[in-house]
Symmetry: C2
Subunit: 723 residues, 2 copies
């Protein structure tokens, strides 16, 4: 009886299931088109009109893409699947059994994304994977390709997790009770799967053959990397919130008196007459003569960087003009203008021009765009309505992009480049010279974010605030080897000179930053022309061997209830440019291990051999030095110590150091450092080379750029560092 | 020129904006129907067929609802708004300027939800608001009403955050730079807003006049609270994973030898012949004679509780029968059967009946349903497909409900009640006798979750694992005043007797739990009949005054960059039943503050006056005691110390304690403690009362239930505790 009824019941269910299956969504294979050499695109369904690339007004840098070596589509035919599913799009990309995935935004804790499930959502970092300042939906495989899902949406990714029942190859089924270390808490799937909460999406695949090639193609597709002005690579100090013109100039004077370099002075909310929400008008008491103040700053070789968050106060004259474009919800009692609407951007940009930038374009270096990331309880809810008709979710994912774009265009009116800061950004941002920052202060997380920024086409820097002497010194050393060398004194009375015992070393670290300006600037020019990120996480570095994941971990009912193995990553070190390996030391640490890629590596200061990779060395530098290693054969160009970045009319002496035992060469970039004239030829790539002469001695040669204008170096002195 | 073109541009934009506005979704007022006294319901759009209440098979307890005092709809006409918005529903409920909101799931860090934005998503707690084991979309206002959004979806809530531009009353606009403490980092909105990612939803409003009334109505609408068997209120010890029958019986013998009470023995993954994924078949080596083992347990007055996670191993005979119902993705290599399909539930339940429960129904007390919460990297992705056609999101939000329902029905086949554990559940679960647990171990978080469970219609208990003597003792004391008194030894060799110096006090704590069985059982009967939660967070307690939020906090660039004020809540204490105030002490603490509601409160052990509320007292109990206070006039019924819960044939001596200076009364519940016969009248509510006789002495009276069967007490001894 039971068997018969079971059979009938089963049959009935099979009919039901078949009917449901017929109604189930089915996979399609996307139709890929090669839209540039090594860049493939597919359109699934009906994509949003507002995406990350459209919000960023990203236009591919075709010449850069054309000059790269050819590449082949990295997936087998039919291997990538797409499935429309109740108003969303499910995507599936193959993942090999030992393939590693990086990227998917700037994470602060790990480089690898393999084995994780995350939702990419612009937010202030707070420990959740995916909730971060630049949750870029672009991933990079160590097999040498990248994938971008161009959606201004909260896209979910499952990277090698979520084994499918229908998968051809599935992990072995192990009994946990008896399986010992063979049992894994995270069985590996054969896919990277993604869910886009929109009825369509455009997907891009960037070819290799290396992971770095894929990253370069992604950045070039976004328009190439940012080229900041030279002064943007100097030092920035942000002043306490309520500082006025008098105090600000006093701060500059103190820097100059103490011989600590300074190029940018950050004015915090106090420049507004109303902040949180903001008025975007100078406060009359604190800044009675803005034009005069800016001219004075300029005369001291300093440019201003002005803080704002974009939430406009009802007390501001600007308010009435932006009110027609306001979203349904306020942030800190200020309206949220819909900057997807060009007219709204124009109103805001015109106001900033009139009120700030036009006063003295050469003195207003840029802006700090605050609080466009999160948290959820401050920013507009996802049910907010905007006049353009775009969803609140799309505005959340693109607001920082829209503002960066607006500000870049604003400074361009004066043919000036800008360097700014931003707290929320996304895919497509590669060309924006804005550096991300946040309110956290965990040293290790800061360094990991620097490394991870190289997978995301964005710039991230830690900052220095307050602490004891060693803490501030170690952080100064670290920010001087990050894209933006920054002290942020907005909420403290502490200064760089508060701790007398480290003031000398702090000064030395910043002076070294200034000496390395040609190296930094050339590295940024590579980013601009070739899409190569300024900092490079170790997995992007040729000859680096990623360490294997540790075996199963130790079971603990509270700390490790699934006996997860620990993964060791070299996430606390990175390359700056082609030649410098930076391994920051945390405050309180005396020694640290450094993973060396293949080849010999030399000490930056002494030229001595440190080790030959691939290997791990233990270094114990003095408090006054950050571990800094140079590749074998590398050329490092430096200028003399200076207090501010050079202007277009200065001719500088150049020191070119050669390290190691091999010959080497580099192309040194130069231009006027301030304007966009480089776009019409006012630039140069000069070849520097070192080889051995007939007697076996090192010799250096300079080969000028035949078409090049913009070479502003005079004497070239060669220094062969390695005995 | 500029003015003219600006006017034209503005005009053009206004046309655009008007067009977009015309296309904008518009608000409607939901149509409310009173579906039971004090319960209103509205249907917006086209609701899902699978919701929380439908997954839980929740049927209202009409008689309980009818006996409550009448209530009025808590909102003004037209005040609640609903807006369909691109396949979702936006909801808005008014929120008064000083109104406090509680609930929205079991949070581990705070009671108040006011000022937060959260997404309710079944997950293992990990610090994120909304991501929790019971993310129930039900909130309670201190103005005395509750709202349930019955959706098996990831519902977003914004509770008093997200000020609307169109709001009639908005917070004052303060300049942060000069405003000092007047500036708030979290301007208060006039609403609770919610976003349901589905084209329709059913919403319920539960009337007061008190918050406790609203909670009771919610629980009664879900079917009334759970009534566990009496033995479920005794002590549970879970054994190490690989224990077999021999070791398990040895554990029981040790409990008995040491005189430590034990009612339930938990078998961990080792009872399966394959776990992670699971086979649901007894392992032959570890349990060669399951029926014999269960009978032996039963003879020692112990019931088994069997662990499982629901992911079925390909090695299991059950697999082939469940495969037609499997979702597209695996969890730990096991299939995820679609238990929204009745036939799938039947297959699984039949198997458990045959393999486990039917062997000895009176010995198998229940099951522990593990890993139906998260994390995201283990459970099925949101793009998974299930044969019923329901979304993966819906399955995630209801999987625990479906399994609890299945198991309750399973045990009912033998007319037996069950007590189980579950790690993921949701709204509608009030009637399920399953207690939530997790892998964390933070003491303060555990206690806050106990308090918060009272707003969510679920049961939560901390557990004891391993630690030093004081740590284990304090935790034992705390679990003995939680719904489930539980030691979990799955991953440790530690036992309750490992630390000899505290073994006596541990035994005493558990013996006190056993003495209080009549009190606990009566309290659960109140939950069952009247919907009153077993534990009560302080805001639900009459006469409790919630403390005000602290003034603006101290600014710190890292720790508190928005100078947020600290909110002090009495989240580390709660009531058990009508009369006992429990204030757990954390390991390592010597003293603690306790907030007393209005009236006098007396020490449980001595009867002495502790304080008169509303006030805060500081207590310094010895290590051997947990702070335990009794309300003025309360009656507390106890039995003698015993080693296991009483069976239906035992007649027990009853001690009734009276505390304080006022007369008092209570209704004491009793039934057979094991079966469902109480549903057909085999139960009693006996009135106990204490008042002063003519001479002014206390006297106690027992008034039997006229219709009542089920009174199993013999002698009644009265003890007037307060001198």
């Amino acid at each position: 009886m039971r068997a018969a009824s079971a059979t009938c019941a089963a049959a009935a269910v099979l009919v039901l299931v078949a009917a449901a299956a017929a109604a189930q969504p089915s996979d399609v294979e996307p139709a890929w088109r090669e839209v540039a050499p090594g860049v493939w695109k597919a359109t699934i369904g009906t994509p949003d009109s507002l995406t990350l690339l459209s919000a960023a007004a990203a236009r591919p840098k075709s010449e850069g893409l054309r000059t790269m070596a050819p590449s082949t589509f990295p997936f087998a035919e039919g291997a990538v699947r797409a499935r429309p599913q109740k108003g969303k799009i499910a995507l599936r990309f193959p993942l090999g059994s030992d393939e590693e995935v990086y990227g998917l935004g700037v994470d602060f804790r790990s480089l690898r994304r393999t084995g994780s499930a995350l939702r990419l959502h612009v937010d202030h970092w707070g420990g959740r994977p995916g909730r971060t300042h630049a949750p870029v939906p672009f991933y990079v495989s160590d097999r040498g390709y990248g994938v971008l899902v161009d959606a201004a949406r909260y896209v979910d990714f499952w990277v090698g997790v979520g084994v499918r029942l229908a998968a051809e190859e599935k992990p072995p089924v192990i009994d946990r009770t008896t399986g010992g270390a063979a049992w894994s808490s995270r069985p590996r799937s054969d896919s990277v799967e993604a869910l886009v909460p929109a009825p369509g999406v455009e997907v891009y695949v960037f070819g290799g053959p290396t992971a770095m090639d894929a990253v370069r193609r992604y950045n070039l597709w976004c328009g190439g990397g940012a080229l900041p002005p030279k002064w943007g690579l100097g030092f920035m100090a942000r002043t306490p919130t309520a500082y006025g013109a008098r105090e600000a100039l006093g701060e500059v004077a103190e820097f100059r008196r103490r011989g600590i370099p300074l190029d940018m002075l950050g004015l915090e909310p106090g420049w507004h007459d109303h902040a949180y929400p903001c008025s975007f008008d100078w406060d009359e008491k604190r800044f009675p003569d803005p034009a005069g103040f800016l001219a004075e700053l300029r005369s001291r070789h300093v440019r201003a960087n002005l803080w704002f968050n974009p939430y406009v106060s009802p007390t501001a004259p600007l308010y009435e003009r932006l009110l027609p474009y306001a979203g349904s919800h306020l942030v800190w009692n200020g309206i949220v203008p819909d900057y997807t609407i060009p007219e709204a951007r124009k109103v805001f940009a015109d106001h900033l021009w009139d009120e700030v930038v036009s006063l003295e374009p050469a003195a207003v270096g840029g802006f700090k765009i605050d609080e466009v990331d999160g948290y959820d309880h401050w920013l507009w809810p996802d049910l907010a309505v905007f006049p353009s008709g775009h969803d609140a979710e799309q505005l959340r994912q693109t607001y920082g992009l829209l503002l960066q774009r607006l500000l870049v265009d604003l400074h361009r009116r004066a043919n000036r480049r800008t360097l700014g800061q931003v707290r929320g950004t996304n895919g497509g941002a590669s060309r924006f010279p804005f550096v991300i920052y946040n309110d956290n202060y965990a040293f290790d997380e800061y360094v990991t974010a620097v490394a991870n920024s190289s997978f995301a086409g964005v710039l991230w820097s830690p900052e220095v605030r307050s602490g004891d002497g060693e803490d501030m010194l170690r952080r100064v050393q670290t920010v001087c080897f990050s894209p933006l060398a920054l002290f942020n004194g907005w909420a403290t009375a502490t200064k760089l000179w508060t701790h007398a015992e480290v003031e000398g070393d702090i000064r030395a670290a910043i002076l070294l930053r200034m000496r390395l300006l040609p190296y930094w600037y050339t590295t940024f020019a590579q980013y601009h022309d070739e899409g190569t990120p300024v900092v490079r996480a170790m997995p992007l570095v040729a000859g680096f061997e990623a360490e294997a994941a540790a075996a199963a971990g130790r079971l603990d009912a509270t700390a490790n209830p699934y006996a997860a193995g620990r993964v060791v990553e070299a996430k606390d070190q990175y390359m700056v440019g082609d030649s410098l390996l930076v391994a920051p030391i945390a405050p309180g640490e005396r020694a640290r291990r450094v993973a060396l890629p293949a080849g010999k590596w030399f000490d930056f200061h002494t030229g001595g051999l440190v080790g030959e990779g691939p290997t791990v060395v233990e270094l114990e530098p003095p408090l006054s030095r950050i571990p800094l290693l140079v590749k074998d054969g590398a050329l490092v160009p430096l200028v003399e110590e200076r207090q501010w970045a050079p202007g277009p009319d200065e001719v500088l002496a150049l020191e070119v150091r050669h390290y190691g035992e091999r010959p080497g060469a580099m192309r040194l970039y130069d231009d006027d450092g301030e304007t966009f004239d480089y776009e019409t030829g006012e630039r140069s790539w000069t070849r520097l080379a070192v080889d051995r002469d007939e007697r076996g001695s090192w010799r250096g040669t300079v080969t000028p750029d035949p078409s090049g204008e913009g070479w502003r170096y005079g004497d070239v002195r060669w220094r062969f560092m390695t005995p």
